[in-house]
Chain length 256, copies 2
Amino acid sequence: MATGRNHRPATRSRGIPEATVARLPLYLRALTALSERSVPTVSSEELAAAAGVNSAKLRKDFSYLGSYGTRGVGYDVEYLVYQISRELGLTQDWPVVIVGIGNLGAALANYGGFASRGFRVAALIDADPAMAGKPVAGIPVQHTDELEKIIKDNGVSIGVIATPAGAAQQVSERLIAAGVTSILNFAPTVLSVPEGVDVRKVDLSIELQILAFHEQRKAGEEAAASGADVTPPPLRGGPAANRKGPDGDVPAVMPA
Amino acid sequence: MATGRNHRPATRSRGIPEATVARLPLYLRALTALSERSVPTVSSEELAAAAGVNSAKLRKDFSYLGSYGTRGVGYDVEYLVYQISRELGLTQDWPVVIVGIGNLGAALANYGGFASRGFRVAALIDADPAMAGKPVAGIPVQHTDELEKIIKDNGVSIGVIATPAGAAQQVSERLIAAGVTSILNFAPTVLSVPEGVDVRKVDLSIELQILAFHEQRKAGEEAAASGADVTPPPLRGGPAANRKGPDGDVPAVMPA
DNA sequence: TCATCTTTGTGCACGCGTTCACAAAGGCAT
DNA sequence: ATGCCTTTGTGAACGCGTGCACAAAGATGA
């Protein structure tokens, strides 16, 4: 069963922990900013502050890449930019396709951060025939029928899914069958993919719900001693009685 | 120093681990789908498969909420939907504002997943005077000058930042000063916020770079015994010599 | 009522990630 | 050349998250 296996597919290969990999882009961004200001070197303390992490963590992260710093001085900005770029595979060009050119897909196509770091939008794909040929962000949208051909012709290995939830699984299967092995999924669904395929998901709704949880907790804490039923009484007072019944008493909270 | 402190602000308060909180929306989504199909109960195994997680993990997650299952039977779908909704704070209405109505902001405003789960777009805010009054997703865009008033009048505590990177920090400060305590940041910057404010970030560029790393590793593994210089020779052969020089030999890889 | 069968809830062990704290390393001034 | 001062690199401890494996609980049927 390869049900919804997310990242953590194989960290042990070259020794760099997954958590570290996830922070490298952060460091790279901070370093690039320093590079543009022609700053020659940074200390772990300064760079950590810029990246919003602990300096010890940063040093340990870098230690996985090798000993690239100079004691008493810090890190050479240009050199580190190069090393991290190489480690992340950003010294080569990554053609990506975006599937689903709705509001979100169009926004992604227009996103500048794409082209800047080695990623190139090779094609935009949509199931709506009316979209076909219409240019978005300067790139003509192609129909889903062309998907396999596009992937193969361009050697695409990274796909971005920005379709409605209902189409995401099927799209992912077609992408994978055509040769894609990494997927960035914006659709609110759990994708089921075979082993060896990496999936990362970006889910607005989930992020908001997590924020809501903390927000509620904050509100509950400051109104601690008030009459509000924060942390309400057990509620399921009896055994397992009332909830097996006609459950008409359970507030039907969720709209959809 | 409150530099870029991300989540993990206070997990210990009510005992629910952060990792569990992050999965609750996933369970909720799967449960809602079951509810719509009028499925009365699910086993941890079934639900775990639908949510793409391990069943033991799911049971442990639920155990933090209380004992809501029935041994030998499973979990009551409706009841669980209610409990998780309540735990996440979704039984109340959360007004949110979106700042920065470019391509992405507009896409977010149009995103249906917003309204469905207790979140309501209270206002759209943009710095461009030309945008003011123009309706996006049926909601008229308001100018940044109104930001503070909007936050206070609507009791907004959650803000979404979809501005360019350069404006994000300042926008976050204004949001926070006006009363916002949770921020979802789409701008590619590290936000510096005071203690007590939660920030979650969604960063397309970072996700792609992480995928690129794994993609590169895959490519390197399968071309293991070939002549390609994957895992290239140490490269910094000498001591710290060449990288302190005029560094003209370091390929200037990063464009911007 | 009692036996059987299913599924939960969780004790336990393990591994990853984070942080502390410090010795080693190197630059720099005298 | 030598000693001081800064900053890295990392050993070690700790805590969180995960997954196994099983006992307890309850439903179901005879």
